[in-house]
């Protein structure tokens, strides 16, 4: 029994159809992390939650868009609201704009997460401040689908300073980097809009990466790891 099972202390019962969908997803081939990004599909993701506490707060919405062959495919995008039994606080609602009614009208969480997995396939993930998105999604998948969501993630919050070290000290948040590339956000703090802004930032990163002979997802993961060490030293 893993740490999370002990933490939540219950097993999830999925109906057979849901179980079948989950199995199908798990059986899909793993992505080639060394393929050129100009020839692969990556998914950029952003989440909205009830708050910033990784342990106690819950996942409200997921927004995601696909970057395929180095371009954002507008139609290959995804957003979903997970039904909440208890709506988040007013302050929180003011941040992401998903009101109490929308939260209660959201999709049943297991179904919402299955749809997310269907959309994702086995494409590697990209986010800004991965720890947050990763933890929230992992927690929800564990709680509602009952399995450990292990997936490749890439954190632009480390990749960008690695690519543009001259800005590393000044730029911290997504807004800083978006401002640098003049990326407009059509609705800040909506999961899909933030995912698009992150995806645009990723597009900006590609030529910079290629200039450093990083041509695939794995190269950028290595860059991220190195940058984490540098940040640690700082």
């Amino acid at each position: 029994m893993g740490l999370f099972d002990r933490f939540f202390g219950r097993r999830v019962e999925l109906d057979p159809a849901a179980r079948q969908r989950l199995e199908t997803w798990r059986a899909r081939p793993e992505p080639g992390l060394s393929d050129d990004f100009r020839a692969t599909r990556l998914v950029v993701v952003d989440v909205e939650t009830t708050g910033l506490d990784l342990a106690r707060d819950r996942l409200i919405a997921i927004g995601a868009c696909a970057v395929e062959n180095g371009q954002v495919v507008m139609a290959d995008s995804f957003e979903i609201v997970l039904r909440q039994d208890k709506t988040s606080t007013k302050d929180n609602i003011l941040i992401h704009g998903i009101g109490g009614e929308a939260q209660r009208d959201g999709l049943e969480p297991a179904e919402a997460l299955l749809r997310f997995l269907d959309f994702l396939g086995k494409s590697p993930l990209v986010a800004f401040h991965v720890t947050f998105d990763q933890t929230m999604i992992k927690k929800a998948v564990k709680e509602y689908l009952g399995f450990e969501f292990k997936h490749p993630w890439l954190d632009l919050a480390y990749v960008m300073p690695g690519l543009l070290p001259e800005h590393a000290r000044r730029y911290r948040a997504l807004d800083d980097w978006s401002g640098h590339f003049r990326i407009n956000n059509f609705a800040r703090h909506s999961a899909l809009a933030d995912a698009l802004a992150t995806a645009q930032l990723f597009l900006c990163a590609l030529p910079l990466a290629e200039a450093k002979r990083s041509t695939c997802y794995r190269n950028l993961q290595d860059l991220e790891k190195a940058q984490r060490w540098i940040s640690w030293e700082n």
């Binding site: 995008s77 957003e79 059509f186 609705a187 899909l192």
Partner: protein, 629 residues
């Protein structure tokens, strides 16, 4: 398909802020948004160039600026910004692009596959219309908004533009050249008409007779009523094509004092337009003003008429009358005014025994006067036997000065550069003009080229027009055979480049009140005017107007008509903005000039202005190509 998500909706909404997407149906915008891909190009990266082969995608700028460069000359010629799309021509024609598109800043573009682009053309009429007619579509929308702004009836405006065929519906009453006068007069009385057209063969008009001719040609001379019509009619009547506009007929009447104009399709008479038929033009006041000028007996009356002309110009501006018509109407009325001033001054003096012709230069010479204009004129004369040119000039100069001062009193300020008939330098005999022109053509220094750009637009206003015609013929014979001079004129014209865009690198200059404004004359219309002059002088086109020059030179240079018309649409759009600016300055009680603040324009007009600058660059590219500058 599932309901579009917030990204697709936001993309559709974003596009809907710009033409042509703003006039597309919502479902077509969603259809488009669902097929877009978003791409990024770092500063300096080339998005598209002729090397890329056939164009595979349609690009819409989401953010950033793209510089368009002409591959042949390597010159930047346009900047594109958020909401603008490219390359329409290459996609429609299924070819490679002739320009290259480079990211001037970091750029994000929405991109649509070629097959989807063609599907969208079929799906959305608004999109199709924009892609195929482009500037014409934008202009129509701008004109609609001008009219809406002034909220007046567009009846006047429409009737000004209606073709003569729609006005002259009655079948004209005719007789033959052999018809006896008595019979023709009976016909006139039976039909209660005021004019009869004399035709030969298959309705070929050969003369006109009006009831006004009765007194001078029949009653007073006591003409025999059996005289055939050929002997009393006014021969060689002026006619217009059925496709000509109502305002052209009004101009012809105003200019020559006619009350009737024939409409003829080739050689065949199809109608007669009388002053009465141009009811709406009478309301606008063109005919009243021209009649009051003709009847004016002193300067005071003319000063009032000049005010009327200016008021008329502002009224027509407010009604959204197109610039081409407006500038022609203003120039025509100003011509009539000037002619009357000259007539009055000549009759008040003895020194006009010399045969001379009054010349108009510059914008007046081109029939392109705006609401604010100063004098540019001169005199050409013949030297009488036994006199020298200087002696003749000495007689003419005092007269010229009185005319110049009278024009000044009528609101045409004396020319600061002293290009006026009262200046001995510009009151010359035919031979002296030829010598002066020849000197400029042979010297080709900056001052000569500048002079050529003013004086070579000359047009006779009153007097011995044959002198001006002879000078014109001589000039064209000289310029068409002096390629070096044309090359210098072209190079000179290309020194004045239209701005690339409206945001960055936009030619806003001036100081104080003029800060951040753009000179629409220098940067906007001058490139067209200069190019038209060079092309006309090169091909021997005698017209002086920019439109007439380009329309005349175009076919001789194998320039497609559609291209010439796109240039002219742009030229007249900028003229309209100039007029509009002057109109608003006058309303606000400010001095009139040619400057506008581009930030004050609405989005649509700003967009068209940019497109017009692009056309100006195309005209210049044509010059550069022809003269290898």
């Amino acid at each position: 398909m599932a309901a579009p998500n917030s990204l697709i909706l936001a993309t559709a909404e974003h596009l809907a802020r710009f033409a042509p997407f703003d006039s597309m149906a919502k479902e077509h915008l969603i259809w488009l948004a669902e097929r877009l891909k978003l791409a990024y190009y770092g500063k300096g990266e080339v998005l598209l160039s002729p090397d890329h082969g056939d164009v595979k995608r349609f690009y819409i700028i989401k953010q950033g600026a793209v510089q368009v460069e002409q591959t042949e000359t390597g010159g930047a010629w346009l900047e594109l910004h958020e909401g603008e799309s490219f390359p329409l021509g290459a996609l429609l024609g299924g070819r490679t692009t002739v320009s290259s598109f480079k990211a001037l800043t970091d750029v994000f573009t929405y991109e649509l596959d070629k097959a989807d682009f063609h599907a969208l053309l079929k799906l959305s009429p608004a999109f199709q219309d924009f892609c195929t007619r482009r500037i014409a579509t934008l202009l129509e929308r701008s004109q609609r908004s001008v009219q809406a702004r002034y909220a007046t009836s567009t009846a006047e405006q429409q009737s000004l533009r209606s073709p003569l065929s729609s006005i002259a519906r009655r079948k004209p009453i005719t007789c033959s050249p052999d018809t006896p006068l008595r019979q023709a007069l009976e016909t006139i009385q039976e039909n209660t008409i005021s004019a009869i057209v004399v035709v030969e063969g298959e309705d070929r008009p050969v003369g006109v007779f009006t009831v006004r001719d009765l007194i001078s040609r029949v009653i007073l001379p006591g003409t025999d009523l059996n005289t055939p019509m050929r002997e009393v009619m006014t021969p060689n009547p002026v006619s217009l094509a059925p496709t000509a506009h109502a305002f052209e007929a009004a101009m012809l009447m105003a200019r020559h004092g006619f009350r009737h104009v024939l409409v003829a399709d080739g050689d065949r008479l199809t109608g007669v337009i009388s002053e009465k038929d141009l009811f709406s033009l009478q309301r606008v006041g063109v005919t009243q003003i021209s009649a009051s000028i003709r009847g004016a007996a002193n300067l005071d009356t003319l000063v009032k008429a000049a005010e009327d002309i200016r008021r008329l110009g502002h009224n027509m501006m407010a009604q959204g009358v197109a610039a081409e018509q407006l500038t022609q109407i203003l120039s025509t009325l100003n011509d009539i005014l000037t002619q009357r001033i000259i007539e009055l001054e000549c009759s008040a003096t003895q020194d006009c025994r010399h045969a001379f012709c009054w010349l108009a230069f510059g914008s007046e010479g081109r029939l392109e006067q705006t609401l604010s204009t100063d004098q540019d004129n001169g005199i050409i004369f013949t030297v009488p036997e036994g006199e020298t040119a200087d002696q003749a000039r000495a007689c003419l100069l005092p007269l010229a000065e009185r005319i110049n001062r009278a024009l000044d009193a009528c609101g045409f300020p004396l020319c600061k550069g002293e290009i006026m008939a009262m200046n001995p330098k510009w009151c010359l005999s035919l031979d002296e003009w030829k010598a002066t022109f020849a000197r400029w053509i042979d010297a080709g220094d900056p001052e000569s080229l500048l002079n050529a750009s003013i004086f070579f637009d000359f047009r006779p206003l009153l007097g011995q027009e044959k002198l001006a015609e002879e000078l014109q013929a001589w000039l064209l014979a000289k310029t068409t055979t002096t390629p070096r001079f044309l090359h210098q004129m072209a190079a000179n014209a290309l020194r004045n480049r239209p701005p690339l865009g409206l945001v960055r690198d936009f030619v806003v200059d001036g100081e104080g009140d003029q800060a951040n404004t753009l000179d629409l004359k220098l940067n906007g219309t001058t490139p067209f005017v200069d190019a038209a002059r060079v092309l006309a002088l090169a091909t021997g086109v005698a017209a002086t107007g920019t439109a007439a020059r380009l329309r005349g030179a175009g076919p001789k240079l194998n320039i497609p008509e559609s291209e010439v018309e796109a240039w002219l649409s742009s030229f007249f759009f900028i003229q309209m903005l100039r007029l509009n600016g002057q109109h608003e300055e006058m309303e606000a009680g400010k001095p009139m000039d040619n400057r506008i603040d581009p930030d004050q324009l609405n989005d649509l007009d700003r967009r068209i202005l940019k497109e017009s600058f692009r056309q100006a660059r195309k005209v210049q590219a044509r010059l550069a190509l022809d003269y290898k500058v």
